[in-house]
Symmetry: C2
DNA sequence: TCCATATGCCAACGACTGTTGACAAATGCA
DNA sequence: TGCATTTGTCAACAGTCGTTGGCATATGGA
């Protein structure tokens, strides 16, 4: 048992490393150029390996993309925070996510491809349904949670589009504090404002 | 003279008609599948014509896309409208644009491709700089116009993404009145709110 | 040391892409 | 009626794509 697990580890440790290299290269290129724009040959070149290996480790480009497009927002539980600071908390977490290489890359991958790749679009709707919406349901009437979460997502996805993908100059130039001060109140109102539903 | 002008018209009317058919098919498919997803062969098939003709009428796929991605928002001059109704006016016009086949298709073409096609991204930034920003500059301090217009664009592009491209169910379900009532105040604040800049 | 297995490269496949040039039919003018 | 120009089709080009199978090499246990 002991040596078997050791063997298992050593046997796979080499392949796991190249596997990770491929995945990292794939995440980088999918985030930069989208699903169609990033070819398997490009990914292989970035990982310094033969294109055939990419298919051997991940069975197809679709499967590689699915592995690369994993997103866990780790959103804070809004129940426990100050009810008057929901908007600012959300927008702060949003900036953290997008400007941290690990999570930001994942979101960029999805958003870049969601407009022309149905799988990515479905995955993005999943993130909304399983990570954003439940969070809103915890602080607002669950009957309105969908609508409220939808409005919040529209503002956040739009901000991400303009700032990180489209790179609209005035939006890129905004500081964190400016964004928090301007977008925070919008999210606050969408989340719990009484004039919204 | 009579029949000559008729002939002249007929000479060009034939080619102009197929030209228009090709352009219409291209707009439809670019809006639906994006730049990469719509092939020249697809466009030709939709226009019931040979692929070679598409290249003959428009010199290349890039040029065809450029012709298809023309957008004129025809935004109202905000100077003349009620200063307290700027937000509602903007969001009303937004809904008109996107749900009218002619203009909505143009915006869909740009937005679908902007995430993975640099030309489309640049074109979208142009729409912002030449159509949205000057409009905001007319009602707010021109020094803040860029930032204000950027925030407005982030909300509007995000809404378009969620409602028309991503088709996020709760956002699709919103009625026009609900959107006007919820998003209008956001835009109003971004446009002229004193706590924004 | 020998052998099985894991890891990797190479060449090629079939499909699809944008684009081109040669050739056929239609059209309009003399 | 002839002739020239327009309008269109067809086949093929060169390139890229995802994917596959065969073959070399390296690794690690017996």
């Amino acid at each position: 048992m002991d040596f078997m697990s050791e063997n298992q580890q050593k046997k796979t440790s080499k392949s796991d490393r190249t596997r990770a290299q491929i995945l990292e290269a794939a995440r980088l290129l999918f985030a930069k150029h989208g699903y169609d724009g990033a070819s398997i040959r490009d990914v292989a070149a970035h990982a310094s390996i033969d294109p055939a290996m990419v298919i051997r480790y991940f069975r197809s480009k679709d499967e590689l993309f699915a592995r690369a497009a994993v997103v866990d927002l780790k959103l804070p539980a809004l129940r426990v925070i100050d009810r008057t600071a929901i908007g600012k908390t959300l927008i702060r977490r949003f900036l953290e996510i997008w400007e941290d290489p690990a999570n930001g890359t994942g979101m960029a991958i999805l958003l870049r491809s969601a407009t022309s790749n149905e799988f990515a679009a479905e995955k993005l709707r999943d993130v909304f349904a399983n990570q954003v919406r439940p969070l809103v349901a915890a602080v607002a009437d669950p009957a309105d949670a969908g609508r409220r979460a939808g409005l919040i997502s529209s503002q956040l996805l739009g901000l991400a589009m303009c700032r990180y993908l489209l790179r609209l100059p005035p939006v890129v130039a905004l500081s964190h504090d400016e964004i928090i001060q301007t977008v925070g109140p919008t999210l606050q109102r969408y989340a719990v404002g009484e004039d919204v539903p």
